[in-house]
């Protein structure tokens, strides 16, 4: 059990940081650049950890310094209860509702820390983060609830036993569609928007605090993708040696991130807040809602079309 927990934590840390390196390289190549080293996020993280952390005068020091710790701590808990590269999570149990709340904590700590830092840029960034969170959580939660209904359980280990993308493809597409917003990647990096509000909530953070806030964001990107992969692609493929399982899982997440985040990042400009809301509440929400309504109405269209009942 202890070995599984330590293994999961180390894997999540390494994978989340490597993933950022891959993403940056994919974006760089689509922009005719060479890009940084794949280990750049490690260098950044350890460099920042060794620096001094400053707390601005006008801030509420407790909230300001608590936010980064909260962000990383919630993600470490989430790493233990999301099934990563095995049929069960590291601690053996995992509740969907808990995971959804845990995944909302990094943005919320960003909002708290940003609001506490007393900078107008951070205040605008925090307000934008709220809008972003509301925008992508709606389709994501509808998609997840649809799967929970279909599998008849809120236990992630039970839900992940089936590859739900074959049964509820529209909900799967909607969930994957929310990935760029959850990762705060390019078209949806409105809360950071360095040309507008100078990286928003991060603006007053420095040193270890900044490193932890960033780490929380990176872990969240990886775990969010892992949750989608576990629920919609299933965990049945992970029946090899543990190391091979981890490699397969990382490859799946890397492809997801490269295809849906890096590609999108390279081909669009930044959106405005109103655009994000319009965007996510229109199409992805509609897709997820269609699947929910059809499932509740008892219409198994994938079964009717292809005879699939779920793998």
């Amino acid at each position: 059990m202890l070995a599984a927990i330590i293994g999961a934590l180390v894997y999540v840390f390494v994978a989340a940081l490597l993933l950022q390196g891959i993403r940056r390289i994919v974006v760089a190549h689509s922009q005719f650049r060479k890009g940084p080293s794949i280990f750049q996020s490690f260098y950044d993280f350890f460099k920042l950890m060794g620096k001094e952390s400053l707390t601005p005068n006008v801030t509420s020091p407790l909230l300001f310094n608590l936010a980064p710790i909260l962000s990383v701590a919630s993600m470490l808990v989430a790493a233990l209860i999301i099934p990563l590269a095995a049929s069960a999570s590291a601690v053996g149990v995992g509740d969907l509702i808990v995971v959804i709340y845990l995944l909302a904590i990094p943005p919320i700590s960003l909002i708290l820390g940003g609001s506490a830092s007393g900078s107008p840029y951070a205040a605008i960034g925090a307000a934008r983060e709220v809008a972003l969170l509301i925008a992508y959580e709606v389709p994501f939660i509808i998609a997840m609830v649809t799967v929970a209904l279909a599998s008849g359980s809120l236990q992630l280990n039970t839900m992940a036993a089936t590859s739900w993308i074959t049964v509820l493809p529209l909900a799967g597409i909607a969930a994957i569609w929310t990935l760029p917003a959850a990762a705060a990647a390019q078209p949806f990096d409105i809360a950071e928007a360095e040309t507008e509000i100078v990286s928003g909530p991060y603006v007053e953070y420095s040193g270890p605090n900044l490193a932890l806030l960033k780490l929380g964001q990176w872990l969240k990107t990886f775990l969010y993708a892992s949750l989608i992969a576990a629920v919609f692609f299933g965990t049945a493929i992970y029946h090899f040696q543990p190391v091979l399982n981890f490699i397969i899982q990382f490859a799946i997440i890397a492809v997801l991130i490269s295809a849906f985040i890096a590609f999108w990042q390279a081909t669009t400009g930044r959106t405005r807040v109103t655009q994000v809301l319009k965007y996510y509440w229109a199409f992805p929400t509609l897709l997820a809602a269609i699947d929910l309504v059809l499932y509740v109405a008892g219409i198994r269209y994938m079964h009717l079309l292809f005879g699939w009942a779920g793998l």
Partner: protein, 389 residues
């Protein structure tokens, strides 16, 4: 409790600049915002005063040409072009046709690279970094062309009183034609990338719009004025250098918003590529420099079309080796007042792209501001004389 109420409803003051990622050069804007909406704006320029006009009076004629070339890193040809035309006007020097054509070639290549640079910066401001990388990659071709023609990418040192310094050989003209053909297709691609992108359309449509009346009232110049439908192009109006030989049409759009600015600049990009091709093809034979004796006392004022708009130089000589006075009105100074109607009512997210939309070049523009004890002060001529360096 009263304090809490007040803080909740207070308008947030957001400073942009003097040092901010949205600005390539120092300028300060103070925005008052309600949520995401801008309700008031104040601007301040004058962070990068370099005393160019004063320095121009302290150098002999031959060196001033190089000094005015260094006013702007992007308009590094149109400043000396305007300057030498003023001196030639005072001294009555007739420049050869070939020299005029070569000057015009440089001026148009400068416009091509400047507009490409603008498209890239605009992409950067809306967070579309691929567009930035792409246009700047293509812009390198123009810089290479400059290097081939003059030996330098930025500071060409092409103009001199009485003509130009670098001749263009047959071989150079041939390879330039190849580069221009390539740039033509690149310009088409950039135009498609900008105008067919639904996200850019949404970010730019109606953002930072300026009506024709406002543009005229605030004295906007160049592409900024033409985007609002004012058909003013100094190349067409003044016919300086070799522009009299070609039939140019001012490129205009009507809304004055970011999309209109892009439309005007991209159309000018195509126009300039066409014009440069024509110039290379019709390059007349002849000398590139003429001799001149001395510069008599006199004064001259003239306009040229810099990539950012109308550039005015006033030059006065007194018969000695030094200038009596040189006064430069760079286009950004005329365009800065049009920021206020553009910014009012916009969203915070639109601030960078609106700031970039007039293609500002604050450092060429900067006047001196004296701030003592937190108060701005108007300096008298006497104080300036006693306090000068």
């Amino acid at each position: 409790m009263a304090d809490v109420e007040e803080r909740r409803f207070a308008k947030l003051k957001v400073p942009i600049g003097p040092s901010h990622p949205a600005l390539e050069e120092p300028a300060r804007f103070l925005f008052e915002v309600e949520g995401e909406k801008v309700v008031d704006v104040d601007y301040e320029i004058g962070y990068n005063h370099r005393s160019i006009e004063r320095l121009c009076q302290e150098r002999p004629f031959s060196k001033v040409v190089y000094l005015v070339e260094r006013i702007c890193g992007i308009c590094s040809h149109t400043h000396p072009l305007n300057h030498v035309e003023r001196v030639e006007d005072i001294a009555g020097i007739e420049v050869s046709e070939r020299a005029k054509y070569i000057r015009t070639i440089y001026a148009e290549l400068e416009r091509i690279h400047s507009h490409m640079l603008w498209a890239g910066i605009a992409g950067h401001e809306v967070g579309y970094y691929t567009l930035f990388m792409y246009t700047w990659r293509e812009r390198e071709k123009v810089m290479d062309l400059f290097e081939m023609l003059s030996g330098n990418r930025i500071m060409h040192g092409c103009n001199t009183i009485g003509g130009v310094k670098w001749n263009i050989s047959e071989e150079q003209a041939r390879s330039a034609a190849g580069v221009l053909a390539y740039l033509d297709t690149a310009a088409d691609k950039i135009t498609r990338a900008v105008l067919k992108d639904s996200n850019i359309a949404e970010r730019g449509k109606g953002v930072g719009s300026l009506s024709r009346e406002e543009a005229v009232r605030l004295g906007a110049v160049g592409p900024n004025a033409r985007a609002s439908g004012v058909p003013e192009d100094t190349r067409v109006m003044c016919k300086y250098a070799a522009y009299g030989d070609f039939d140019l049409e001012p490129q205009i759009a009507k809304d004055g918003d970011v999309i209109a600015q892009a439309l005007v600049r991209l159309a000018e990009l195509k126009q300039s590529i066409w014009l440069t091709k024509e110039l290379f093809a019709n390059l007349p034979e002849g000398p590139i420099q003429v001799e001149y004796d001395e510069i008599p006392p006199g004064r001259s004022v003239g306009r040229t079309e810099a990539p950012r708009g109308e550039l005015i130089h006033y030059t006065e000589t007194n018969g000695s080796r030094f200038f009596e006075r040189i006064k430069i009105r760079s286009p950004t100074l005329a365009n800065v007042p049009s920021y206020v109607p553009k910014f009012l009512g916009c969203q915070v997210a639109d601030i960078p792209i609106i700031a970039a939309s007039i293609d500002p070049c604050f450092s060429c523009t900067d006047r001196m501001t004296v701030i003592k004890n937190g108060k701005r002060k108007i300096v008298s001529a006497q104080e300036l004389r006693t306090g000068r360096i």
